[in-house]
Symmetry: C2
Subunit: 479 residues, 2 copies
């Protein structure tokens, strides 16, 4: 127990210093290491295994929806990035630029991709000619670079890993459907796989992706009341196609521009998991993506038969779950806190008395409650317990979201909430960017998160300027 | 049949122009597209699906052998790359260099990773302290950049995809075992998965990886007699560890340097597949990595019951194999040549008469022979036919390797073979780099491929200088 306390004491408590709590978790749960490269992180095996599980599930979903994976170059010639004006204006300030190759100064500078719309368009121009070539439903898993001044592992790094879907369609309607289909795909993934409830909505003009006609977003709520842009899906219309000269011959023999979408989620998701589910004992992982779903700890393992029983249990459960047996010579107390720190959803303890009773002790990472479970039907018991962990995580996060959502009917109310509370603020808005900017300045950083699909009518007037309101907006501070 | 001929005629024949044949295949089988970025390729869905299958199988092998995946930054600060002298000397000439980030000139230039030994060492320095921390068995799947003057899709591109394993061990013996274990892992993958026989051996001093003590290689033989470095595994000793100050406290409480390995294979493998198995009708894919293993073509598909029977067959086979049903309105002839071009191992044709007979026609991509097969037990028949395709490919490649391997007992003989034949030349060697260089110059490019594990004693003297021979070397021209 002394060991246990010692371990736990190493994490700063969330209430004391949320930022330090986060840093402690990513380091001590061995998710990342800092690298010697400014703003770039090393994703360690335990962190990368979470990303692999995320990739595995999402990739299968994308393929089920008809998408194919491809790989585009990581470099974008500067002239290519400049073809769509809004796009280059958005990304130019955060580019990493290659100016030397093979010891020679390059005649054209190469941008390390911050996103790949321009590369996909350059390729689509070559392969789209007829309506028969549409739709094109491509995706790629890769690294991208956006030069950041202040960085934080997973949340904001100069290099990150992500997937970017880029699709082309015959009609606006089809492309708009795809945009929302993929947004819903992300929302479902957050809720059903990561146990994180999200608000789905549309970005305001000001917060849109550079070059997009519409940007949709899923926004989860963190423990400390901060929002996070959890994933975005963009409808481009035919703007890039016009800039790149991508046309196709339609069924009626006219020449048309295709309609385009793109959508992406990144390793930032791991930050969302940490800040949605973690607690003062460390990480808490949703079962679907946990690298270890069940850890088995033999108790009094020097006693005859204990290790054997633990191994038999691990073998049995290993057929269905990701299981780790820890029979190292560390104390049980050390092991308990170690796997709590690592967020393993379930712990099974098995010792001489349990073996006698044909049972083991099952401990949930969420509630930390112990229960005795029969070894008969243990697979079903574990399955049920994992489902319970998922539900409890989801419900807890949903409660947090509800608790941290306020309504502001007047500007004073908005300013007071922004100062005194953390979380989402629902308030009416006239539609003008000026009001967004004023709110941001007056609150020191509260921005529009989205116009949610479930808009409510709170009042008739903009909370900021008093003019007629066009929309209800969800506002909040963001990572 | 007219269509068929037309399609086939579009590929240059191998004998006429091997380089053009290769280019035709990568383009027309839709494996790659050229990009606007010098030396970088676009890997299209069909090409990327091959890479995904390769990754899937290799990754499972690596994990079975205890390796864990991680992700390191893609940038290497110039000072870090310079820490190991031989290493930087080897890679400096082919680096892409980032000099600008976020619109500012960087205080330290960043190299886009050509390989990641230095980054792994920088991390290992932080996490290796005790013998308890060893071994470390890390791998990463990523993109790397080596600036190339002349490029060819898959074989030599400025950016390519690969995996790089980097491991650290307590003892030299353990590290040497790992080096050979991974070489054998590659050799098995080439032979059992890709149906490509390889020569396993050790690189000469001159051909070693920059900074390695030993480099081992697997070398397959292409259709045109060229060799290809198919995969390499390096033993580093403790050179990098000394340069980076990586030490651990051993069991006997002394402070020691760990012993290091690295090993990698890349998208170049796809080039090896094309040039080992392809023919004048297009690509031929080994079943284990073929994105489509079986294509089903309904014949006279407007006749009642044909499409339904083809769909039923596709559903049944789809439970076990990667199956595509092509019921598009293209002619059967077009479809036949299309899927031959794409290298699909098996084609099943089903028409009204076949349905009557409860059978279908099975055509192997390798032999192009047709056979009637009963629909009863069709799954087993397809399984057996795929195994036969693999074996036939392997045997054909093995025969090519044998036919294209010569022995040179004198220097004249070596020069004559180098001029008149293509392929491997076995010849004795004194061990001096000067003789390697002389052979390369006198033959216009024949280099030592490796000192094979199965060394033969052909004579007592070096084929070049006549001094006592130390080794038999396999020589050849390379991609």
């Amino acid at each position: 127990m002394a060991d246990n306390k010692k371990m736990v004491a190493e994490i700063t408590s969330m209430d004391q210093d949320f930022a330090q709590w986060y840093t402690d978790i990513v380091k001590k749960a061995e998710l990342v290491d800092y690298s010697g490269v400014k703003g770039c992180m090393i994703i360690r095996p335990y962190g990368y295994a979470i990303w692999e599980n995320i990739q595995h599930i999402l990739d299968a979903e994308f393929k089920k929806l008809g998408h194919e994976n491809v790989y585009m170059p990581m470099f974008i010639p500067e002239s290519l990035l400049q073809k769509e004006k809004d796009h280059v204006a958005g990304f130019a300030p955060e580019c990493a630029v290659v100016t030397i190759g093979g010891q020679n100064v390059l005649s054209e500078r190469l941008i390390v991709r911050p996103t790949s719309e321009t590369l996909f368009c350059d390729h689509y121009k070559n392969i789209i000619h007829s309506y028969r070539d549409l739709p094109k439903l491509y995706n790629q898993w890769c690294n991208v670079v956006r030069w950041e001044k202040t960085t934080r592992p997973f949340l904001r790094t100069s290099e990150f890993l992500w997937q970017e879907g880029h699709t082309m369609h015959e009609t606006e309607e089809e492309a708009r459907e795809e945009t929302l289909r993929m947004l819903n795909c992300y929302a479902d993934f957050y809720e059903k796989t990561l146990a994180i409830p999200v608000i789905k909505g549309r970005k305001t003009e000001k917060e849109k992706f550079a070059g997009a006609k519409e940007t949709y977003t899923v926004e989860p709520m963190m423990h400390n009341g901060f929002a996070l842009q959890g994933g975005t899906s963009h409808y481009f219309g035919d703007g890039f196609c016009r800039a790149f000269g991508i046309t196709f011959t339609a069924k009626d023999n006219t020449v048309k521009y295709p309609h385009q979408t793109s959508w992406g989620v990144s390793t930032r998701m791991i930050g969302a998991i940490i800040m949605s589910h973690g607690d003062d004992n460390g990480l808490v992982l949703p079962p679907a993506i946990a690298p270890i779903q069940v850890v088995i700890i033999p108790v009094a393992q020097h006693k005859p038969g204990v290790i054997e029983a633990a191994k038999a249990l691990a073998d049995k459960l290993g057929e269905r779950f990701r299981v780790k047996l820890d029979d190292s010579d560390q104390s049980s107390g050390w092991k308990y806190s170690q796997y709590e720190m690592k967020g393993v959803p379930l712990r099974l303890e098995i010792g001489p008395r349990d073996i006698e009773n044909n049972s083991c002790v099952l401990v949930s990472r969420v509630t930390r409650e112990k229960q005795f479970v029969s070894l008969d039907g243990i697979t079903d018991s574990v399955e049920a317990a994992l489902a319970t962990v998922h539900d409890e995580l989801y419900n807890r996060a949903k409660e947090n979201l509800a608790n941290r959502t306020s309504v502001a009917l007047s500007y004073d109310e908005l300013l007071t909430i922004a100062e005194e509370k953390s979380g989402f603020i629902k308030a009416m808005w006239c539609g003008d960017t000026e009001c967004e900017e004023k709110i941001k300045n007056d609150t020191n950083g509260v921005k529009s998160r989205c116009i949610p699909f479930n808009e409510e009518h709170l009042s008739d007037t903009c909370v900021c300027c008093g003019k007629p309101a066009k929309h209800m907006v969800v506002w909040g501070r963001q990572y």
